[in-house]
């Protein structure tokens, strides 16, 4: 499979490599023999029915969940029990959650500066200046001194994206970033994500926003029952799905 960024000079191939990865919750086999290579700058959309293991999968990539078998290598570092490796990887991988998970006791600006100051050891002034840039990029610089509880859902999610970007990560993970939002707020968040995709960020995005997948994805991955059932560029994926399970899923989701 040929994806455009692969050919561009200066792009690292295989910034994420997942090889023969399995995960169990007790006896329950959640993820079965996953294999995936993501190149730098690639934009991946993961979809699939509820309970298929999408969240579990992307949470393994920054080790919020442990895998029990196989390998996950992020930016050249293999994820093992070694805490130093985990911390290094997490510094390079930003994550945006379905329920925003902003820190309610800190202002928007403090939310954005926390990790740059404590982990990257950035001078506070510099961290704040850089945070303001990202807040401008997600179009809410005027909310910088408010607390998360004072913002709308869409605004909170944009702050969450800015907060992750403040660490200047190489990879961004999104776990259903728009599914807790009202319809009129979905667009403002998607616009930010589309802009981010245009800037060459490596993105892994679990979402049911098929419009977003069609616009920005280099590859769409379909998961079901803990397996990667099918992966293809969006045009192929939507017009000519190969597997029966994919066809059924697409019928259901596009019927809306």
């Amino acid at each position: 499979m040929q994806t455009p960024p692969k050919d561009q000079p200066g792009k690292k191939p295989g910034i994420i490599r997942v090889e023969g990865m399995h995960k169990w919750y007790g006896d329950f086999h959640v993820l079965k023999d996953l294999n995936l290579t993501v190149d730098q700058g690639e934009r991946i959309v993961i979809c699939g029915p509820s309970g298929s293991g999408k969240s579990t999968f992307i949470r393994c990539i920054n080790r919020l969940e442990e895998h029990q078998q196989g390998k996950i290598i992020v930016d050249g570092i293999e994820l093992t029990d070694d805490v130093r490796h985990i911390d290094t990887v997490r510094r390079e991988v930003g994550m945006v959650f379905q329920h925003f998970n902003l820190f309610p006791h800190l202002t928007v600006l403090e939310n954005c500066c926390l990790s740059p100051i404590w982990v990257r050891k950035t001078p506070r002034k510099e961290a704040e200046a850089s945070a303001m840039e990202y807040l401008e990029r997600v179009k809410i610089p005027d909310q910088a001194n408010k607390f998360p509880g004072q913002l709308s859902g869409g605004q909170q999610q944009r702050v969450a994206i800015a907060r992750a970007l403040c660490m200047k990560p190489k990879i961004m993970l999104f776990d259903e970033p728009t599914s807790a939002l009202d319809p009129e707020m979905i667009k403002e968040v998607l616009d930010v994500m589309i802009e981010l995709a245009g800037s060459g960020m490596t993105m892994l995005c679990v979402t049911h926003e098929m419009g977003f997948a069609k616009t920005v994805a280099d590859r769409v991955i379909f998961m079901d029952g803990g397996e990667i059932v099918e992966q293809a560029p969006p045009h192929e994926f939507f017009t000519n799905p190969q597997e029966a399970r994919t066809q059924k899923f697409l019928q259901q989701i596009l019927a809306h």
């Binding site: 920054n62 919020l64 805490v83 911390d87 997490r90 510094r91 991988v93 930003g94 994550m95 959650f97 329920h99 998970n101 902003l102 820190f103 309610p104 006791h105 926390l114 990790s115 100051i117 404590w118 982990v119 990257r120 050891k121 950035t122 001078p123 506070r124 002034k125 510099e126 961290a127 607390f147 509880g149 004072q150 969450a160 907060r163 992750a164 660490m167």
Partner: protein, 395 residues
Amino acid sequence: MKKQTIDTRPAGPKPWYDPRVRSLFFQAIAIALVFWGGWILVDNTLSNMESRGISTGFGFLGETAGFGIIMNLVPYDATMSYGRTFWVGLTNTLLVSAMGVVAATILGFIIGVARLSSNWLVAKMALVYIEVIRNIPLLLQIFFWYFAVLSNLPSPRQSVDVGGALFLNNRGLYLPDPVTQEGFGIVWGGILLAIAAVVGIRIWAKKRQLATGQIFPTFKVGVAILVLVPIISYLVAGRPLEWDLPALRGFNFGGGITIIPELAALWIALSLYTASFIAEIVRSGILSVSKGQTEASKALGLPNGLTLRLVVIPQAMRVIIPPLTSQYLNLVKNSSLATAIGYPDLVAVFMGTTLNQTGQAVEVVAITMAVYLTISLLISLFMNIYNRAVAIKER
């Protein structure tokens, strides 16, 4: 021309349907009832006392007390006044309460965190501690420490002797008393200097973080300065401190500082008992911070220690403070169980002996109640101020 001004407000409801009028009405009734009840009580007591020939007023506070008290922080002997017995009792109550609050808080936080430990044994031990201690009546625990543990220590002649300076027996714990000599001012100067230096370093470290991003280990360096500078100035000043060692004189010890077994038993029991409740409060406070918060913090690359310190604890404190306040209040009030083992707290001394000797029940009870009320209100006030500072702003 009368009807020129037009009232544009919507017609208000009839007064008896207006919530504001209603609430005023009910509040007025409630206040009237309280005053009426208070008046009946006071009137009744006064006329009873009059008929029994008891004088009223606070004049008795100036009379000579004539009884001894086994422990006093303010100077006291039997020739002093009843007013003095009040201060002796009050300072004893404040001492055991303050010691109890500090010990219970430290122990409670440790056990509360241990309760959440991923180590099975640690977590289970914390659980057993909490369940056993908080389900046994406090009075029983005070008796246990006083009669079963401390009374069974050896007699003064057979004291447990630690290096000839520290003695433990059934009369109490005897510690050396530091007596400052000439030149101790230098040590005080050293202590002040150390405090000033730590404050200075904090300010400098903040500025440097602003400028360069480097985080200075303020806490560790601060502790080192606070410990080392006074020690050095002590040595430089030629060790201007002598120790008054306790020594056996006849059947008992003299000299040094004594911690009487009544205080020790009450302090241990109050601390252990309150710590078991604080541990549960701390545990539920930490659990109240959602898993999403820790996950977001970890995803940002913050290691576990910083996640706990910067994300979890500040949010947990908000949940912990109000019930923690009520535990502090309980501890202060429970300290009045001192009477049961004869620790001379406010209730034992003032509401006990003083009341019995003078018969001034109304005055003594009123003063004592006012004191407990004041202590409680002060604690609540401080905790509220703290709570307001850590509160999370919502819409």
